[in-house]
Symmetry: C2
Subunit: 226 residues, 2 copies
Amino acid sequence: MKPFHSYQNPSLAIDLVVFGYQQRTLSVLLLNRNEMPFKDTWTLPGAFLQMDERFKDTCSRVLKTKLGMDNVYLEQLYSFDEPERDPRGRVIAIAHYALINPKNFAITAGSMANDVQWFDIHQMPELGFDHQEIFTQALQRLRSKILYFPVGFELLDDLFTMPELHELYECILDTTIDRRNFRRKILDAQYIINTGKKREGLQNRHPDLYKFNKKLPKNAFQLNIN
Amino acid sequence: MKPFHSYQNPSLAIDLVVFGYQQRTLSVLLLNRNEMPFKDTWTLPGAFLQMDERFKDTCSRVLKTKLGMDNVYLEQLYSFDEPERDPRGRVIAIAHYALINPKNFAITAGSMANDVQWFDIHQMPELGFDHQEIFTQALQRLRSKILYFPVGFELLDDLFTMPELHELYECILDTTIDRRNFRRKILDAQYIINTGKKREGLQNRHPDLYKFNKKLPKNAFQLNIN
DNA sequence: GCAAAAGTGTTACGGCTACACCCATGG
DNA sequence: CCATGGGTGTAGCCGTAACACTTTTGC
């Protein structure tokens, strides 16, 4: 058998589109690079794959060491192969996206305050590398997936109200959805379970608190928007 | 700047799920390996990515040199990172699938007759590496994509009849679809254009010949099956 | 003129959209 | 008791599934 790894191989980078939801806004976590290339430019967080790592391991390493996050919803997105996408040389990027609840991870304080930051998806800066394209694909994927699969609960607290879930969907899909029709569809799909508890301390009627139904039924769920 | 490619990187393989449609059967092209590992075992065709190649270049190279095919519909599928997936060492596979019309490429004759062969997707042999998983995902992707996107025309001749298209869909989705409802949906979606010509030489009524509408309208097409 | 298959039309049901109404809470 | 927002119900429309009928061809 040939000396297998003596060939020259491209480097393998894992790039991460980390989505967070807070203050009724869908945001993405960006990192301001402090070295060349693209020094002082906002980019997606990422790292090179080590020989003993699976993709998810690299993702976890980035999330843990650079962002202090743990136990995160991850999905592989797409791989990017443009030869000139990295000026340092040939780098293949395996893009993933993550969904997290920012409340669980305080990014805003600490030593990284300056170079790690949430950006409203409507107010993104210019990104280095081909990260704009990666981000666009990630958002597209999230938007289409949420129409037929119970993704999105990872962005909320364990307990959430129907209006909160409703607003999340509107925010991600960037549209308005009829409150009552949304409720019925979500309930029919049995994605969520009413806990009987109520959210207290609001000005008006206290809405029911729901939790995600982990044993999700395979009822076809299809959310149609106008 | 660091010596960038001095790190050890995994090898990058491109694996191909080549779908073909013939004799009312959806088939996959498999290759009988003539070297270790998995010698004399059926596998998906593939090759290692060269430093100057994009994914599609590698795909084309495999399709051209190993299979004599050219100008083929290709789509990136998913990347597989299991560290033990290749006994020779760490190999990441970027899987793609291709749709071709076998009529355009005579595989059955020639020097490769013995080690390249079409297999009915219902009668597949055991596959080497993790290729069974890759194949399964490819089939799944094809099946879900055909429900909302005009993929599949690549499997047919340039001119085809409505019953032929109908049968292709039934074959890919492995179900029955009402002939008349199918026709209406496809026509409404404007995926195809009636050429006015007819298929001659049949026993019964001569069906109209259609061609694929290349400037596909973005009407949402959704084929629902029971 | 008969069998087989392709083209065309229709009806009736179900699901969704687009609504209105009632209920709970704080001030 | 009023404003605000959350919970519940419903009517009417539209799309489509499930059909029947007519037309064309070969023998």
